[in-house]
């Protein structure tokens, strides 16, 4: 039986994105196959519902502050201030990471796991420490790189340096898509045979949990649908990575050809004002709905009320929200730059900059029931083809490979 030290940054319900969801499902599937997992998080919170592994908190920190200020905003690294920093003075995410490393070091003085499995740059330093100081094989799992987060525009050099070191020293790297593997190979100069592509699957809790769409929640949108409108939605953080200004421009072009379209932008972020301004500038404010940040039932209501879900990302390592939307019967439009497009064929695709094609696709689907039905039929069998147990099998193969490294040492 393998002992795994899993280095993570969040677990549901204390998660702000897909990273925590992926970590939880992956760990659960591995545990089902017999792995013993200690999972480290940088905050202190109850995870009562998790019984298949030990969740260890690295420090006394409120889950809200684990990123310093502003979740995922890696460009504020070194700058951000945490109000009322608890205990030791943690003023930025770097301090949180420092304490996280210290905890891992103390842990390794006492325990000898077979493999250390680190998720994203946030925990790579701790992973490197385990590898360098304790000789434990390191698996680096890349859910997103700094290039993705910055919309392929460079990003924060500090983060790049941490990513590079982790990727160089890892015995094996797991990338969530071929697109991510390509970035790791091309931008970080890592040999391709060190990187395995393992796609994510849909959240099991999401699939299992009882959900009933209540058409009263989005009464306005339902009414518009009754008048023949098509609802197009997107979900995510409003950052450059998500390509939302391209989507807004495409929306304006699509509306010029088909008036009966409503675009729902679900989420929040630094580009909110810019997107609002754009919609006003194009004179389509009436056709654009901002929901603010949504999660849980509210998020599922967005999927449920929508006809078309657009993943407009400039770069998207995987893009789990697309599969969630598909689960709720949405037809998908994906950028060719998103990982999910590698596994889903029953979707329309475009290059993130190709606003004309995106507009064309939105109009085509809204005007043709036949196209919508054909896409829907195709995706209904496709979106849940990969299970987390399949994912676990692939990860275990990686573990066995790096375990052999240990014997060689």
């Amino acid at each position: 039986m393998m002992k795994i030290l899993m280095l993570g940054w969040e677990l549901p319900p204390h998660n702000s994105g897909g990273l925590g969801v992926a970590c939880l499902n992956l760990s659960r599937a591995l545990a089902k196959d017999g792995a013993e997992i200690d999972f480290v998080v940088p905050y202190e919170a109850d995870h009562q519902e998790i019984s298949f592994m030990n969740v260890l908190s690295a420090m006394k920190l409120d889950p809200l502050f684990r990123y310093g200020v502003g979740a995922y905003d890696s460009k504020y690294v070194d700058e951000a201030l945490i109000p009322d920093a608890p205990q030791e003075k943690m003023i930025s995410i770097r301090d949180v990471q420092h304490n996280y490393c210290k905890f891992v070091e103390e842990y390794l003085m006492e325990y000898k796991p077979d493999v250390v499995h680190a998720h994203d740059w946030l925990t790579f330093e701790a992973g490197v420490l385990a590898k360098r100081n304790f000789g434990i094989p390191l698996v680096a799992h890349v859910h997103a790189t700094e290039y993705d987060r910055s919309g392929m525009r460079g990003g924060n050099p500090v983060v790049h340096a941490i990513e590079r070191e982790g990727l160089m020293l890892a015995d094996k790297i797991i990338a969530v898509s071929q697109a991510t593997k390509d970035i790791i190979h091309e931008k970080y100069d890592i040999p391709e045979d060190k990187i395995d592509v393992v796609y994510n699957s849909l959240d099991e809790d999401f699939l299992k949990s009882a959900y009933k769409y209540d058409s009263d929640d989005y009464k306005y949108l339902e009414a518009m649908k009754g008048l023949g409108y098509t609802i197009v939605s997107t979900v995510g953080r409003f950052t450059v990575q998500k390509g939302l200004s391209n989507l807004m421009r495409a929306a304006a072009r699509a509306i010029s050809k088909e008036r009966k379209l409503i675009f729902v932008f679900a989420g929040d972020g630094e580009q909110k004002q810019e997107l609002l301004d754009l919609s006003a500038k194009f004179g389509i404010s009436k056709n654009v709905v901002f929901t603010g940040f949504v999660r849980g039932k509210q998020l599922r209501d967005v999927y449920a009320v929508s006809d078309i879900f657009v993943m407009s990302s400039v770069s998207e390592p995987f893009g789990l929200t697309a599969l969630e939307a598909a689960h709720h019967g949405d037809v998908l439009i994906l950028t060719k730059q998103s990982g999910v497009a590698e596994v889903i064929k029953s979707a329309m695709e475009y290059d993130f900059w190709d606003e004309e094609k995106l507009a064309d696709e939105i109009v085509a689907i809204s005007k043709s029931k036949a196209l919508r039905n054909t896409l829907k039929k195709g995706i209904s069998t496709e979106y849940c083809k990969i299970s987390w147990q399949d994912v676990a099998k692939k990860i275990e193969k990686v573990y066995n490979e790096v375990d052999k490294h240990k014997e060689l040492c």
Partner: protein
Amino acid sequence: MRAICLYLHIHQPWRYRRYSIFDVAHNHNYWYEKDYYDKQNNERIFRKVAEKSYHPMLDLIERNIKRYPGFKVSLSITGTWLEQAAEWDNSLIEQIRRLVYTGQVEIVGETYYHSLAFFYDENEFQEQVKMHSDKIFELFSVRPRVFRNTEFAYNDEVGRWADKLGYKAVLAEGWDKVLGWRSPNHVYKVAGAERTRLLLKNYRLSDDIAFRFSDRNWKEWPLTAPKFQDWVNMDALRGNLINLFMDFETFGENIWADTGIFEFMEQLIAGWLKEFDNKFVTVSEAADIEQPVDTVSMPETVTWADTERDLSAWLGNDIQHEAEKVLYDMKSDILRSGDPDLVSDWRRMTTSDHPYYMCTKYWSDGDVHAYFSPFDSPYDAFMYYMNVIRDFEWRIQNLNIQRMKLLGEA
């Protein structure tokens, strides 16, 4: 006496380009993609196939016709191919004319646009068959006497229609489910018709060449001409007529020259004619080779495609049905417009390749090579197709408006 009936099908569709919704009403160029290297560029594709297949194979045929008076070939050539050849490489048409004039090459009739019109609109179907016959007569001074429907889509109605029009024979698939214990190596009668004969493709021997020849995992690879001739001799024990029906592009395009496919054919022709009492026949000669041994009935449509041998590659999902329906629904408006360019553009959209590009049968299995298409996805193919249809609608409306204006002025 044993006879090989070699029949080759020559076709290129007018692929529509990625015609955007923003082109509609502004730009009526559907067929000429400006970027030469684009996947929808018809000229590039035609020239490429001409170089790899049309020229070398026509040369091979011409060489052997000169060498052996007993070598015969039948060709079916679509109108859309002839239009493109006239535009980009007229020497191909001239060469085919020389071949036809030797009397050793017969031309088979079909719809001008390689369409599925038979299943949607009988008048349009008749019109397209007549257009094709006229075009063949104009270029080659002969009229087809044997008929094949697009993709070999055959049922008893097709046979009876051909009988009514006086065709000697119709070509169809020799599918086991229809034939049962009977052999495709005989001449059959069309169900419900007295004169017209059915010639059935020997799909095993045809596919040995057209599909398996270059397959290195095939246990019979490499296939040599003497080995194939042995198989033909064996197969001839259950009937003396061997119908080898396939796409012309098999030679050089689907199966590349470096596999030795041209040398194989050259040797097969020579080897076959060397044996006593062996010959090649054209499709008309094949129909007369013996009295029909039985009647073959196909109430359901049978094609030469896929393991299912049905129309599901063309009419298998909602978008394919929708595409054909909206097209034929607008026919009377198109014809009434009196605009010959619009009529021609509309007819080019009836080509069966277009719904074929929208096939989703194996799409999500990741088997992207199962269906060749110039588009990134079946959904893209449908989207651009519908934009072309929208432009047709706009052109009809626009012509009506102009006509009203003229009336008003008068």
